[in-house]
């Protein structure tokens, strides 16, 4: 499979699903839908929002550092899967960051303000704002470029901030904003708008299924006060990844773990990680409230990269600092149980070749890299790695919330996911294991779109097939 995009592919990828009249009305040439916002005076509004964010958050010293240190060596081009496919200079991570850094330099540093007056620089223009709004959502925020920046600039952090500032003036993908609204102030309280009765029905149905298949009573404990683990998967798992959930339940039952699902809040998804610190904080605090209600000792996140990262790395910041409850991922639990000899897996069930996709959010910091591999090696005979993998792993192409934006699907397939498609073909694997709700959706679409001969599964899907009950 050729990595570089063809002209025809580029045409397909860049086609906008937006109606031209909406684009004209909003003066926003982007591919994602945006709810109506106040168009006139938005450059000023952007600068005000930027100033307010700099005042109250921790970004100022980071930007001060980045504007001084950036050497423009363009080494990041070698580690950006978007750039490697398009070859377009506008997709260079350093260029994307410069879009925001130049605004900071011009409007928020003394030197910038002085030279602006001296040379009559008009400052932030609407065109610049439009380019920024389009550019930051072309990035999957996978932070692979960070590994190759000699100056240590985190383009992922800059992109995150740019999206946050834009969202404060109303420019954010509608898909994410609507889901967040349902999660934070809607009746269902979760991003997929699943009502509690439907959840209970689903779980009951799965319990019956499991008893039929495995001959063992496997329960989904609901609202158990004082349980050790509060289980919080990506809520879409309840709709789309039943096998993964059954795997989670099977592991907990086989190892005698004490766990519970809370009906007060059962959604690990946190789109705040992608576009707004405000949302990030509110969503993480919903987990805290549920954990306090059920008096659990630890929080276990299901198979989901961004849910795990937003909990692990932001729960302490927003929910009690040092006293915050420990956060683990379900794969860490399974790994510990495997090491302790409590989890037994049949090595003769999975005969096909398997490969493992590293979700950026959990692999990039080096948090969950070895654990799933040890689990896989414990029961899969034919395991092959993708190259590169682990902390250097390539994003599925749907990272940074882009997978939830359905209207940019062609972009995700032709550009974002091209590298992953090539990796999958190169391994020749039948099963592609992707322990992340976002990656699962994206890779499933990749397999369909590029007509690959592979099947997408979660790690717990396979564990469910191979698990042995005593």
């Amino acid at each position: 499979m050729e990595l570089k995009i063809t002209e025809e592919g580029l045409k397909k990828a860049l086609k906008s699903a937006r109606k031209p009249e909406v684009t004209a009305k909003q003066k926003l040439p982007v591919r994602y839908h945006v709810e109506d916002f106040k168009v006139e005076g938005r450059t000023r509004a952007f600068l005000e929002a930027f100033a307010a964010i700099l005042k109250h958050s921790n970004y100022k010293f980071v930007l001060d550092h980045y504007i001084r240190i950036s050497a423009k060596c363009s080494r990041c081009t070698t580690n950006c899967q978007i750039y490697e496919v398009t070859g377009d200079e506008h997709d260079i991570p350093c260029y994307r960051s410069e879009l925001l850094l130049s605004i900071y330099r011009r409007h928020f540093t003394v030197a910038g303000q002085m030279s602006g007056r001296l040379f009559g620089d008009p400052g932030l223009t609407d065109e610049h704002l439009q380019e920024l709004a389009a550019s930051v959502w072309n990035c999957t925020a996978c932070r692979r470029c960070v590994n190759e920046c000699p100056m240590g600039i985190d383009h992922g952090l800059v992109t995150h901030l740019a999206r946050y500032v834009l969202s404060e003036i109303g420019i954010a993908p509608r898909a994410l904003v609507v889901s967040t609204r349902e999660q934070l102030i809607g009746d269902s309280g979760n991003t997929s708008a699943i009502p509690v009765p439907a959840l209970l029905d689903t779980l009951e149905f799965l319990e019956e299924d499991m008893e039929e298949e495995k001959g063992v009573k496997i329960k989904f404990p609901i609202n158990v006060e004082g349980a050790e683990y509060l289980f919080v998967p990506a809520v879409s798992d309840f709709l789309m990844e039943a096998e993964t959930l059954m795997g989670n339940a099977a592991v907990m039952t086989a190892t005698g773990g004490s766990w519970t699902i809370g009906t007060g809040y059962f959604d690990g998804i946190n789109y705040g990680l992608f576009y707004s610190d405000h949302v990030l904080e509110k969503a993480v605090q919903k987990i805290l409230a549920e954990a306090e209600r059920l008096k659990v000792k630890k929080i276990m996140i299901g198979e989901c990269g961004h849910a795990s990262r937003s909990a692990k790395y932001f729960y302490p910041a927003f929910c009690g600092g040092k006293d915050a409850l420990p956060i683990i991922n379900c794969m860490e639990y399974a790994y510990d149980m495997l090491k302790a000899g409590k989890l037994k897996l049949d090595p003769n069930v999975i005969k096909e070749r398997v490969t493992y996709h590293d979700p950026c959010n959990i692999a990039r910091p080096g948090w969950i890299v070895q654990q799933p591999r040890e689990l896989i090696r414990a029961f899969c005979k034919d395991f092959v790695e993708m190259t590169p993998n682990g902390r250097q792993g390539v994003c599925c192409g749907g990272g940074g919330g882009t997978v939830s934006i359905d209207e940019i699907m062609p972009y995700r397939m032709e550009i974002g996911g091209k590298y992953k498609a090539k990796q999958i073909v190169d391994t020749g694997a039948h099963y592609v294991i992707a322990p992340c709700a976002n990656c699962k959706k994206q890779i499933r679409e990749i397999i369909d779109y590029h007509k690959l001969d592979a099947e997408l599964v979660g790690l717990h899907d396979l564990i469910y097939k191979a698990i042995i009950f005593d």
């Binding site: 921790n58 001060d64 001084r68 260029y95 240590g152 969202s167 600092g321």
Partner: protein, 257 residues
Amino acid sequence: MEAWLEFGRGPLFRISFTLMVLGSLRIIILQIIGMIEAYNRSADKIVPWGDLWKKTFSWLIPIFNIWRKRPVYSVISVLFHIGLILVPLFLAAHVLLWKNSVGFGWFHISQSLADYLTLLVIITAPLLFLMRVLNKNSRFISRTQDFVIPLLLVIPFITGYICVNSSISATGYQVMMFFHVYVGNLIMIMVPFTKIAHCVLMPFSQFVTGVGWKFPKGAGDKIIATLGYGNKPTWFDNPRIGIVTEAETSQEQEDKK
């Protein structure tokens, strides 16, 4: 000419040296203060120090990193930096100059080593410039200073090398020395104000990024309040179509009644 040279090596050198040191100290101290403030503001104190130290050293001494991607450019760049750092600081004549004007000196490298390192810079700097010009990515993202600085940096090396190693006329020597001294002073002044600042800031980079991801609690609410959005963030009720203040809202309600 002699007087100009004396001025450049004497008072002007002291001024530029002071500007360089104080300017660099200023940005370093501001950086550290910013980092400590950010760290204190966030409740999350879990920073992966070990990982950050490892990353810092892996880029300060990039023996293992340079072969991975763009090896030719990387090797040239590293050689350039080695000469660039060692010669100005440890050349015997320079150490003497420090001693005479700022009152203290340190060890120096041999003249032949200094000559080789100087040649290294003279060869690699134009190469770096050319690679920046010829590579379409680098050219596209470069600002003016990115093109100018390598060429500016190489001037003191060329002139210095000529002064030491060739038999030129006394006037020629003075002209060379003039450029050597004055461009050298200019570069020193530029250190804190241009991208050359990375020579003092780079060791902090990984830590800045590490702490940068630690967010303070309650910042989102304060930002909304500062912007006058009240309790209406974007996800609440799409208030960004014409911002409605609290007063206006109650007025509207009365109108409806």
